[in-house]
Symmetry: C2
Subunit: 345 residues, 2 copies
DNA sequence: TTGTATGCGTTATCAT
DNA sequence: ATGATAACGCATACAA
């Protein structure tokens, strides 16, 4: 089945290619006579004509394709975001070109190169890290760029993010009001805005209450389960006495922390309360169900898609920024802590 | 920053466009003199030249883009598969164009239309349903097509799948050998190969042991948590006495089943053992940890990418098919069933 | 309302 | 070893 082009349809319908082009373009089909339009459409259907988006893209300078650059497809939190983007795009006939940086700035550069070469109409990335400012600003001069989930303060780039500073504070408030005073946080990578802000928000509330935040000797290199395990081990090793509560910077790291607690014969929440972040799908099914901070990932994805669309239309005349609110979701992993009776708030 | 084309580089280097094209093409750069090549490259770097994959695609007839058509990005099992595909493609400079059908055959048709129009070099889909044979065979005549995860028996299409018949049998063996006799399965959608085969494999082993499989009045419309809840409720409503073990066709449905059990005051595994399928990331953290069937999703993704590449090179002269083995992962959700002492095998 | 001509950026083919 | 030219399929400015 050789590929059918406008030319073939034109011959079949007995008109010129440009007429076919117009008749088949919803925007311009009105410019063509009723009878010819019908004839052209019939011919197109009969021959099974299918427009060539590549040729059209070359001519029009628009590909109806957005690049979605994520850090890690394996992180369950990314699925709803992707889905939101996909759904936000679908209606407009735009399709997502997906790439993964694996949280590596070099790969980020390669990926950006690859997507720019494909002449995407916009780029949405959830993979920004501090240090990428220069690269991303350069990219943003060539194509509308939206930061999602992670932003780059003072970069002047559009960003749709969650209020992670607030999320960190919510976590701290929750733990403190449950009576905890020996509190630690397992921090995600230092060069990612989300984790920096969670750290800061959490710490600032503790300081407000004059509580010292216990912290492991280092931060996670990646926000993964394995790193959660590693940090929790190091934390326990570095203290004479375990903390009574731990705030992990995402749910995966919290699960890693739970592993280590169990391994060492500590129970959650009786000995150590644990909370996560993101409220990924499974948190309510774990043992114990995990207290966490819920972020509207799907919503954020849709809004990022909208922002990218706006950016295209505005032609540089706007930089949409939005910060979505997190919500505390209290569950058993921070309830009924045995120490709360002994040391009431 | 206006876009830099071959023409600009040619002018800067003082050569003809076609020379630039050759000098910059790794395949043909040998055909051009050493000094000119150096000059051209210098000019390209200086101007920040970046090839236009759209124009190149139009001319060459290859876009270095594969379409990945999935049913549901929200299903956690799809993440490792996507990741495997992405990694399998990355090395070859190919990028994935991702689309979601939401398990709707009509949307499948639209999506296929959209990706064909984008002149992708190949299509990998994990969203095939019985009833899609005709559509997909038509697509396969126009572009190399690989079915992944779900296949279409007798369609003659390439397929990289898991051995779900075997997986179903493993599940049945496990439950029976734990002493269960009142066993039910919560079946996924009837028109999807994976679930049909899980159903068949499970049933065939029970028949072998002369055990009647209890089943809810209907199957799930989608393999989701909500449907798992619904089916479990209907199952319990339809029986005088609950089953002692339930095989859910994926982990999500199993979690739904657990919800309902808890709601009704039944405990797992003491009253009812539950097992899932897929071994998604969270199964070891749930309460109780979920017995499940592990599938090599990442591997399957990589192999599907390879198969698609092969298909392109073979030009229709091959239809790679592969079936990957599942593995039983026993955990607490099917252990220490209280009835096993009373009715030993 | 329809047809003509031209170009989007690249590459293959031919010629030099 | 390099240059000239045409063509990939489509869309637009312009002419009729």
């Amino acid at each position: 089945m050789a590929k059918v082009t406008l030319k073939d349809v034109a011959r079949q319908a007995g008109v010129h290619v440009s007429t076919v082009s117009r008749a088949l373009d919803p925007q311009k089909s009105q410019l063509v006579g009723d009878s010819t339009r019908a004839r052209v459409r019939a011919a197109a259907v009969e021959l099974g004509y299918q427009g060539d988006a590549i040729a059209s893209g070359l001519r029009r300078g628009r590909t109806n394709t957005f690049a979605i650059v994520v850090a890690d497809l394996g992180n369950p939190f990314i699925a709803p975001v992707l889905r939101g983007i996909e759904n936000g795009l679908g209606g407009r006939g735009v399709m997502p070109l997906v790439a993964e940086t694996q949280d590596d700035s070099e790969r980020m550069e390669q990926v950006m190169h690859a997507v720019l070469g494909r002449r995407v109409d916009a780029v949405i990335t959830t993979a920004a890290r501090h240090g990428d400012e220069q690269l991303l600003r350069r990219i943003a001069r060539q194509v509308p760029l939206v930061l999602a989930v992670r932003h780059l303060p003072d970069s002047g780039l559009s960003a749709i993010v969650h209020d992670d500073e607030r999320g960190g504070r919510l976590a701290a408030e929750h733990l403190v009001s449950a009576g905890h005073r020996r509190i630690a946080q397992l921090c995600g990578p230092v060069n990612v805005s989300s984790f920096q802000e969670r750290t800061a928000g959490f710490r600032s509330y503790l300081e407000l209450r004059s509580i010292v935040s216990l912290e492991p000797p280092e931060r996670a290199a990646f926000p993964t389960l394995q790193e959660g395990q590693r940090l929790m081990s190091r934390l326990l090793d570095s203290l004479h006495e375990p903390p009574t509560a731990v705030f992990a910077h995402n749910d995966l790291m919290a699960f890693g922390a739970l592993d280590v607690l169990k391994e060492r014969g500590l129970s959650c929440p009786e000995d150590v309360a644990v909370m996560g972040y993101n409220d990924t799908q499974m948190t309510r099914y774990t043992a114990p169900p995990l207290t966490t901070i819920r972020l509207p990932g799907y919503e954020l994805g849709r809004l990022a898609a909208d922002a990218a669309t706006m950016l295209i239309e505005a032609g540089g005349g706007a930089t949409p920024k939005l910060t979505l609110p997190p919500v505390l979701v209290p569950r058993a992993s921070t309830m009924d802590w045995s120490g709360s009776a002994r040391r009431p708030d």
